[in-house]
């Protein structure tokens, strides 16, 4: 069969011909042409009916999560062999420095204690620490009250705790992350959790009073949001039994299992 005949038959099968007369005549001209047409038509219609396969919601979420996890591992630079000794060396140095500090302060502390004892002793050697406190409370006639000076509390702060970012910023950040989770977007800040430590994570969720939730990822918040233990990731948990798009999303500080934010 010639190429142009095959193309004419294929065009007829695919519905690309404005005028089918020539093609129909060709098919009718021989068994070979008719069989070719039947085969092309059978296959073409079967394949057109197969449709484009789609990812399920959970497959889509898993795909994004796994791709970002793999890319994160890509971006971690390879470390030289000697690097594994760094934590050991750091630990040894820490212990040594601590010992030096403690031993060198030993002499100084003895001096401080002696001085304090002299302060408490009003000269007759019979006063007690309680007496000294009582004298301080009284203020003493004509004595200065600078020893009982009041330390003023800071004013005008919007911090929830000393050194923490404003609550509104934290809330806004986690609300945004919750929306990403619901949309199945696992960004570079997220990583899969270590399946081997599942018991630990379940008990953490229990501590945070999150029954019916399941950890789906760990989140590495930016420094200006992270109010917990620096470097500890945040657990990302979603409510079970509902579609991800409708799930409640909880963020838990892994270091102390404190609920940071619940987005419903």
């Amino acid at each position: 069969m010639r190429d142009h005949e095959l193309e004419l038959i294929a065009a007829l099968v695919e519905g690309r011909l404005d005028d089918e007369t020539e093609a129909r005549a060709l098919i009718g001209s021989s068994t070979e042409h008719r069989e070719e047409y039947e085969a092309q038509k059978t296959a073409y219609e079967a394949l057109r009916g197969a449709g484009i396969a789609e990812l399920t919601h959970s497959e889509r979420s898993a795909l994004h999560r796994d791709v970002w996890t793999a890319l994160r591992q890509d971006q971690t630079p390879a470390r030289p062999g000697w690097y594994r000794w760094v934590p050991v060396t750091a630990g040894v140095l820490f212990v040594l420095l601590g010992l030096v500090a403690v031993l060198s302060r030993g002499g100084q502390d003895a001096g401080v204690f002696a001085e304090t004892a002299a302060d408490l002793d009003g000269g007759d050697g019979t006063s007690t620490p309680a007496d000294a406190l009582a004298r301080d409370d009284d203020g003493g006639a004509g004595e200065d009250s600078d020893e009982g000076a009041v330390v003023e509390e800071p004013t005008g702060t919007t911090m929830t705790a000393f050194g923490s970012p404003p609550e509104e910023e934290v809330s806004a950040f986690y609300s945004e992350e919750a929306e990403r989770i619901r949309a199945g977007e696992f960004t570079a800040r997220m990583q899969t959790y270590d399946a081997g430590s599942e018991n630990d994570l379940d008990s953490c969720l229990e501590t945070a009073d999150l029954d019916g939730f399941q950890v789906v990822a760990l989140l590495d918040p930016p420094d200006d949001i992270d109010s917990g233990d620096a470097g500890a990731p945040v657990l990302v948990a979603v409510s079970e039994g509902t579609e991800l798009a409708d799930a409640a999303v909880a963020f838990v500080d892994r270091s102390d299992c404190r609920l940071i934010h619940l987005d419903e």
Partner: protein
């Protein structure tokens, strides 16, 4: 489908380290990539692996995209090559189109079956024909790509694409005919 200008802009943002841009790129192309991988691999799990590998390659090689072809065409090419690599590693063609361990009572399994719109007999017939012909008719008759696009993806002449499509359909029809007896 995105325009060429939109694709170029998206890729430029990816190269600048914009992770949101890459997520957007994935969302735009993931269903088509998965569909091609599923038809070629014939197995959902393998297709998911191939899809993941495709996007990893897209990210790693984003700097190599020259813009000579549409971004979608380039991604398709990576997907097809990834599937070929995976099939070579397997050493044989798989004939099971549906994972047997899926319990129909399992909600996620139902979801998978509904979403796939897979007709097992067609996938089995596809798996029985040589890969070159299978890929050609999958791209042409399932994905609806033109002969020129397929030629770009596979880096073969248009004439060769036509030949593979016609021959692929003939082989598929024979397989379907054999299986219906």
């Amino acid at each position: 489908m995105t325009t060429a200008a939109q694709d170029a802009q998206l890729l430029a943002r990816v190269l600048e380290g914009d992770h949101d841009a890459f997520s957007e790129l994935m969302r735009t192309h993931e269903d088509r990539v998965f569909s091609v991988c599923l038809r070629i691999m014939g197995d959902r799990e393998l297709a998911l692996d191939a899809t993941q590998e495709t996007f990893l390659t897209v990210f790693r090689k984003a700097g190599q995209f020259k813009g000579n072809a549409a971004l979608g065409t380039w991604i398709y090419r990576i997907a097809v090559n990834t599937c070929y690599d995976q099939l070579r590693k397997q050493g044989r063609r798989r004939t099971d189109s549906m994972p047997e361990h899926l319990d129909p009572a399992d909600h996620s399994a139902e979801e998978a079956i509904d979403a796939a719109s897979v007709r097992p007999e067609i996938q089995r017939a596809l798996d029985a024909i040589p890969e070159d012909f299978k890929v050609a008719i999958v791209l042409s008759d399932i994905e609806g790509l033109g002969l020129g696009d397929i030629a770009e993806i596979l880096r073969i002449p248009v004439g060769t694409v036509k030949s593979r499509v016609f021959r692929g359909r003939r082989l598929l029809a024979a397989e379907l005919g054999n299986r219906s007896r």
